[in-house]
């Protein structure tokens, strides 16, 4: 008897926490399926006739009066794919060998390089992005995919280096020594022996780096113009001069959150480690 009361208390707290997290997500998904009348209805409607008109307006463009061009948002999606995909690919190319060299050939110098990369995770991005805005305009990288991919390295390379690093620390040195005896240099040892072993680590580094790059707002806000606008900046268009297009925004929000959601299903195990850059494993 005396035990049931705290148990009910815990259950209630548990339900409260889950509700707090889930409610906004459920609400925005519901809103994305609401027609205009249901979106602006007060009191808000919990039961409504679902419609796909918001999604069709986001993905195919408006047919109504507030036309924003056919499928503008699809272009933003493509831009984000290109920028984040390119950024991750470049980061893996640069970061994986670097992480290996930094941990296998480790001296004081190497450690301070590693920590400099780690420190970028904590720096206010504008410290680099605002000067980059000026530089990019001079060298014509402003509003270019290449420019954005390079800028995104500020986010993705530290992630890749530090996550791969924690996985490298667990690789038994013996298997590398065997490869060396066969005459492999460090690069070949890495590619042939080490990378296959740490593939899950490389995969989760890639996924997390992709999400962080995809979710980033400031880079796009400052360094992209009409040609390369990513989804995070595109969504802001829902907030117009005189009114907010709530339904459109909800559908755009749901679509732009999809990559993260898919990744979440997929990489539970390494996620927490990845979020702290592998620090404090």
């Amino acid at each position: 008897m005396s035990r049931t009361i705290p148990k009910i208390g815990f259950l209630a707290a548990y339900v409260a926490v889950i509700t707090f997290i889930m409610f906004p997500l459920v609400w925005i998904v519901m809103m994305s399926f609401k027609g205009y009348d249901d979106v602006i209805a007060f009191p808000p409607t919990f039961l409504f006739a679902p419609t796909l008109e918001n999604y069709s307006s986001v993905l195919l463009g408006d047919t109504g009066s507030m036309s924003s061009g056919a499928g503008e948002f699809v272009r933003y999606l493509g831009n984000s794919m290109l920028i984040s995909g390119g950024a991750v690919a470049l980061s893996l190319l640069v970061g994986v060998p670097a992480a290996y060299a930094l941990i296998r050939n480790r001296t004081k110098n190497e450690d301070s390089i590693s920590f400099t990369f780690l420190s970028f995770r904590f720096a206010p991005e504008l410290m680099v992005i605002i000067p980059l805005y000026g530089i990019y305009q001079r060298v014509r990288l402003y509003d270019s995919y290449l420019g954005l991919i390079l800028a995104h390295q500020l986010i993705t390379v530290p992630l890749v280096i530090w996550i791969v690093r924690t996985f490298l620390a667990d690789v038994p040195v013996e298997i590398e020594e065997a490869a060396q005896l066969d005459g492999c240099g460090p690069l070949r040892t890495l590619m042939r022996v080490v990378v296959p072993v740490i593939r899950p680590g490389v995969a989760s580094a890639a996924i997390l780096a992709f999400i962080f790059s995809w979710n980033n707002l400031l880079m796009g806000l400052v360094l992209s113009g009409q040609g390369t606008q990513p989804v995070t900046v595109g969504i802001l268009q829902a907030i117009g001069f005189d009114q907010v297009r709530w339904g459109w925004m909800a559908a755009a929000a749901v679509i732009s959150a999809l990559p993260g959601m898919v990744a979440a299903l997929y990489m539970q195990r390494h996620l927490v480690q990845g979020l702290t850059m592998g620090v404090g494993k």
């Binding site: 815990f10 904590f122 390295q153 979710n215 995070t232 732009s256 990744a263 404090g280």
Partner: protein, 323 residues
């Protein structure tokens, strides 16, 4: 520990000390040249990352330099003004109140999220089903773009049509102005931040709790400690380094909070949510003054690094305390 990561431990010498040098020398030489080749290979592997590092350092340095000039976007040739921008900022009540607001924001985030995250972690750790389901749910806000999180809550916080005021009305509480009032806007952003980042803190603390060897907790139970005492004297000290780690991330991220504020309030109403990172952005792109923008952001940078450095020291100490 450093040495254990080295690939090639020094091979045992074939010849004993003092043996004839002409036997040893060629082997040594080839070993040394192999060593040099490896060294060069490592340097080559590191080179692209180093170039990138330089590519980041250059704009950074230029940013610091800009903060020492009177650069405006509409002036062709800025000139060096020393620390004048910094002196101006320290006299500017808008900057000082933004600085104060930023620190208040960070302090509120810590005060709200650390205890709450500990509570959630303990809650989830109690049962395996609970932690399985909870982890799956908690991960979701971390993967939503912060700007989406912000807009989502903005929708719900609409004073006249939002669902939050509707729900408050159902339990007889008055409508709140949320983001539209200078008195409540910052706290509304703290709430949004808590939704977006409480899971981050809770998941790390949960991982910490689950790394606690079960024997230790059982031993304290056998000794007759109640749940609260076991938590206070066993779990909490064990969690200390994890708590500091969470604090480091939360302090840095909330000091430079931008993504949750820009789409939601743009720093308003009036200045009530204008944190330093937002103010820096506006200074550069609305008021065309990169010089004072860079001064603001460099001060923010110093704050982030100063506080993180102190917390990092604390972290090392807590790790040593746990052993």
């Amino acid at each position: 520990m450093t040495t254990s990561h080295r690939v090639a431990p020094p091979a045992p010498r074939v010849a004993p000390q003092g043996a004839t040098p002409d036997v040893k020398a060629p082997q040594d030489r080839s070993r040394r040249s192999a060593q040099r080749r490896r060294q060069r290979a490592y340097s080559l592997m590191l080179l692209p990352a180093l170039l990138l590092l330089i590519g980041i350092m250059i704009p950074f340095a230029q940013g610091v330099w800009t903060s020492l000039t009177d650069k405006k976007t509409y002036i062709a040739n800025p000139s060096f003004v020393g620390l004048a921008n910094y002196a101006d900022l320290l006299m500017d009540p808008r900057f000082l109140s933004s600085l104060g607001r930023t620190l208040l924001y960070v302090a509120s985030i810590l005060a709200v999220q650390l205890p709450l995250a500990t509570f959630v972690a303990v809650l989830l750790a109690r049962s395996s089903i609970g932690s399985y389901l909870g982890r799956r749910v908690l991960v979701l806000p971390l993967l939503v773009p912060p700007i989406v999180a912000g807009l989502m809550w903005k929708t719900m916080m609409q004073p006249s049509s939002g669902v939050l005021n509707h729900l408050l009305g159902l339990i007889g509480l008055g409508p709140l102005p949320w983001l539209t009032d200078t008195g409540t806007a910052l706290w509304s952003v703290v709430l949004i931040d808590t939704w977006a980042f409480l899971p981050f803190s809770a998941l790390i603390l949960l991982a910490g709790l689950q790394s606690l060897p079960p024997e230790i907790e059982e031993a304290s139970r056998v000794d007759g400690a109640g749940a609260w005492k076991a938590f206070k004297y066993v779990s909490l000290p064990w969690l200390a380094p994890y708590l500091v780690l969470v604090a480091i991330f939360r302090v840095a991220d909330s000091l430079k909070q931008f993504d949750l504020i820009w789409p939601v309030t743009r720093g308003g109403p009036l200045d009530s949510t204008r944190l330093l990172h937002v103010m820096g952005y506006e200074e550069a792109f609305r008021f065309s003054s990169p010089a004072s923008a860079m001064a603001i952001i460099f001060i923010l940078w110093l704050l982030v690094y100063g506080i993180s450095f102190l917390l990092l020291k604390l972290w090392r100490r807590t790790i040593n305390a746990v052993g």
